[in-house]
Symmetry: none
Subunit: 199 residues, 4 copies
DNA sequence: TTTTAAACGAGACGGTACGTCAAGTCTTAAT
DNA sequence: ATTAAGACTTGACGTACCGTCTCGTTTAAAA
């Protein structure tokens, strides 16, 4: 049985990597709007056409660059489930806090955010490929807690996830205050307090 | 934004207005990155130099344009206080929901958001001039409720405000779901549930 | 003018021609100082950068444009030598008179003159490439006459050429009088009279 | 009969002088095309409007500036007439050579030349006010020599003047060779040789 | 193993917008 | 009423990138 791969993978992987790396570096250095395909090509040692051949816009390049990053360390599809909902969510929130305080991550994510704000199609893809998956993972953990009776039965789990993570992301984006584990804890405690069954 | 009005602002007010109006219109039409000072000047019937004379960047122009808008209708410095915290906050949240669903507001605010993400100094100014003021107004209402015993004494009021409004803003920015009064109500109810005194 | 043709002149000849043509036309229409690279590019249907890529200034463009003109019809490297010096020089002078009275030539040469007055380097190049060559051709004819005994032995031939052609060019530049064959003849006769061997 | 002095407007003579001085300086420093009214006004400590009120163009300002210079030292209306034509003309030519080699004079005169090449009306005025007057002065001296029998009777005196001064001016403008007293002498001797009565 | 077609680096091209400089006009305040 | 100052609209400057389009030159698959 010969090659079924006959399709068209005649693509230079080294160039692809160089482009994504350069895009990420430059986004961190100069920000999204000053990021230029010309500069990416130059930094990557690549012809401009090689970028235009495989990506429709600088937003798409940056998107792939961040996606590549995230895909590496994000093989996990579930949250820990120790039975203690608050502890499990705290673990995740603290990890998020750490990321948001990492300058490299901060800058490239801000650039990506701009890209997504500017390109609705890309934003949809981002949701489909990353955001929604991560959302579902958290929702699953809440559902498990709901079944265990730690969360009220009538709670809208989508809203619940957003209540726990939304304030943190919002503070990060607007820099309206420091991103600390304590802040995350406060949000988490209060939110869970509101979600708990009454009676 | 510069506004050294005191001395002698030999400045053409008509041009200033035309520039802000044009900036807002164009930001709504083409988005932030495709917004150009050249186009603003043309639409406003103004020389480019008149823009560069008074603003350092297109971000600053857009900032002032949005600021002018907000300053007009935002003379109010307090939230309604009927004694019913949930009802009062619902009023504000529903107004916010209405704004976020207005295409004109949506687009210019998204553009402004990009501007603020790209220009840290401007973001600081935005917080000082608008965000913080609005935050304080909401915090005041919560403080009043806390004094009335409707909110637990140990609650961090900054976090409380962010819990009520953060998820909504986040859903708007990331388009992770529809912005409806019902969604706002769900967040509000759950959040207040968590904030209420226990016992 | 740059013309490193040897290696790899990945250069669009059609654009080059269009630029030179447009430059010449516009110089004739609006004069040198009102001539703009922007207008040349527009008239030639070319991006500005294409001009800046190959020429350092509008003076250089105009220079090349005139050079191209002159190179075409100026293949001749010698003056006629019928043995009658006065007749031979008269032929050349009358041709010059005709050119100077041609509005098209007049205007572009005046523009070029301004360009050369403003750019010393270009002026040097002009002398090297055109003026000196033409000067030598005339000097050669005078030398031949000197050998034939029609011009005094101690005459400085450079000065002689300038005496015959200088007054004409000067009258043209300063518009101090009409440029006629008769005027040229007067100068020529008197000059030759002064150059003839005495005895 | 009241004041007949109603003639000229109340014009600030100090500003006028400052403008002409600044124009001359700047023309010498940066050349004609880079000379700007803005810079003249700044250097002269004068409002731009004051220049525009009294002159129609930078060419006119420069013209007046040079005119003022020339009028100062050019009160003389005749050439010396010692009876020795060659000696008298040599005096004048050597003075001209000295001027042309003075960098300040050289640069401002080159700038003025550009101005005159670009503005035909100004060129006419220049001829009327300066060039023609100087031409007549020289022509007068030649006429005197003609009457004394040192110049042939049938000589066209206009052409004669141009033969003596044209080559020098032309060499200056085109920088086709050094401007030396010896060169001037050669031209003068040869020209006078051609102008002398034959027989 | 040779052929051959794509992907590649390089970079010129027609354009748009940048941010700056100066033009010439107009307004204000001081003399 | 003239001036110094300087804001205004206009237009050109020279530069940076855009996205498209050749150029030769690898390079890896099919022949």
């Amino acid at each position: 049985m010969p090659q079924t791969t006959a399709e068209r993978p005649r693509r230079n992987e080294k160039s692809r990597q160089a482009i994504l790396t350069a895009a990420l570096q430059l986004a961190g250095e100069v920000g999204y709007t000053k990021l230029s395909i010309e500069a990416i090509a130059a930094r990557a040692g690549v012809g401009k056409q090689t970028i235009y051949r495989w990506w429709p816009s600088k937003a798409a390049v940056l998107f792939d660059a961040v996606l590549a990053l995230s895909t590496n360390d994000a093989g996990e599809t579930t949250l820990p489930d120790t039975g203690d909902l608050e502890a499990d969510l705290r673990t995740v929130l603290h990890a998020t806090v750490r990321e948001l305080n990492d300058p490299g991550y901060d800058r490239s994510m801000r650039s990506l955010t701009v890209a997504l704000l500017e390109d609705e199609g890309l934003a949809a893809e981002y949701r489909r490929n990353l955001a929604q998956r991560m959302h579902e993972v958290k929702k699953d953990r809440l559902r498990s807690a709901q079944l265990a009776g730690h969360v009220a039965e009538d709670v809208d789990l989508d809203a619940a996830v957003e209540m726990i993570f939304g304030p943190l992301m919002n503070r990060w984006l607007t820099r309206s205050g420091p991103i600390t584990p304590e802040y995350a804890d406060t949000i988490l405690t209060t939110a869970l307090n509101g979600l708990r069954p009454r009676g």
